[in-house]
């Protein structure tokens, strides 16, 4: 099932069987791409949106020297360019970071879903708002945190997102990114990231080696990152935000 991880464990918006089946039937194509493949470029008209089934993808912007700033990463279960449905074009590029399998949903199918299934449409909207919440956290990370805090925050966030998708046990997860990728996410140099990774290890907070992250001290890492996962709207009794679930109408 392509939609197995989509909105998994998100409060109030888990898909029911009918909704899941509707998205599955809307998929027109499933393809696997190599790592480091550009999937969509800024300004190109888009007639479909993409559900990431496997792998890690990114959104990024290049500066005038061609240096890349990653502005988002996407994990399995993310409907990653749902934005393109109302916008019709993207203002950034989208690429795979690892080999990635994607399911394509034509915008004409999203039109039909919007006409037929308003509650499912609201859940798709939720997915784009979740992206916006993550963007706000990325702004906070870059604006307020030092180098160790930035990397720690990224690792805490990724752990929470992967946990929600069923791809982390809460402490340990695969992260097949390079230190250069982490640098472009956190606005650092690779040398700086290399040192931060060592500091996190020496402080007993986290080990990042051979594409595997092991969080030794989740509370300590979260404190170092000033990380509060509330903005991820994960189904969690300790989550401090009020429920997003609406009463039946």
């Amino acid at each position: 099932m392509f939609t197995e991880r989509f909105l998994r464990n998100r409060r109030g918006v888990s898909l029911d069987a009918v909704e899941r089946a509707r998205i599955e039937t809307a998929v027109s194509e499933v393809k696997t791409y190599p790592a480091r493949t550009i999937m969509a470029r800024a300004g190109e008209p888009l007639g479909q949106s993409t559900l990431l089934v496997e792998g890690i993808m990114s959104r990024y912007l290049d500066d005038r020297r061609g240096l890349r700033q990653l502005v988002a990463i996407h994990i399995p279960g993310d409907f990653l360019d749902l934005h393109a449905y109302p916008l019709e074009v993207l203002d950034h590029d989208v690429a795979t970071l690892t080999p990635a399998t994607v399911a394509t949903v034509p915008h004409a199918e999203l039109d039909r879903i919007a006409d037929e299934m308003p509650e499912l449409t609201r859940k798709l909207w939720f997915a784009t708002l979740l992206d916006a919440a993550i963007h706000r956290a990325w702004l906070f990370r870059l604006g307020r945190l030092d180098a160790v805090g930035r990397v720690a925050h990224f690792l805490c966030e990724t752990n929470s997102r992967l946990f929600s998708a069923g791809l982390s046990d809460g402490r340990r997860f695969a992260l097949p990114l390079t230190q250069a990728d982490i640098a472009e996410i956190c606005g650092l140099t690779t040398v700086h990231v290399n040192r931060v990774v060592r500091v996190l290890r020496e402080e007993g907070l986290c080990l990042f080696r051979s594409s595997l992250v092991e969080i030794a001290d989740p509370a300590g890492l979260a404190a170092r990152a000033q990380f509060n996962p509330a903005y991820l709207y994960i189904e969690d009794p300790d989550n401090i935000l009020p429920s997003t679930k609406r009463p039946n109408r």
């Binding site: 307020r144 030092d146 180098a147």
Partner: protein, 66 residues
Amino acid sequence: MSIDDATEPHAEPGVASAEKGLVMLDGPDGVAVTMTAEAAAATGRSLIVAAGVAQAQLSASGDAPL
């Protein structure tokens, strides 16, 4: 911390360190920069000159820092 504190000047210094022939400046807050040794030295000299000018400005006006 009040809502205005984030826009106030930093009273804590950043910490510079060297690694692999480069200089890293960490903090305060969101500052995280890697520079070549030459760029770091030039930045350091520029900071010292600007700090001296800022202190002279304060002495002349008799004001507390903004």
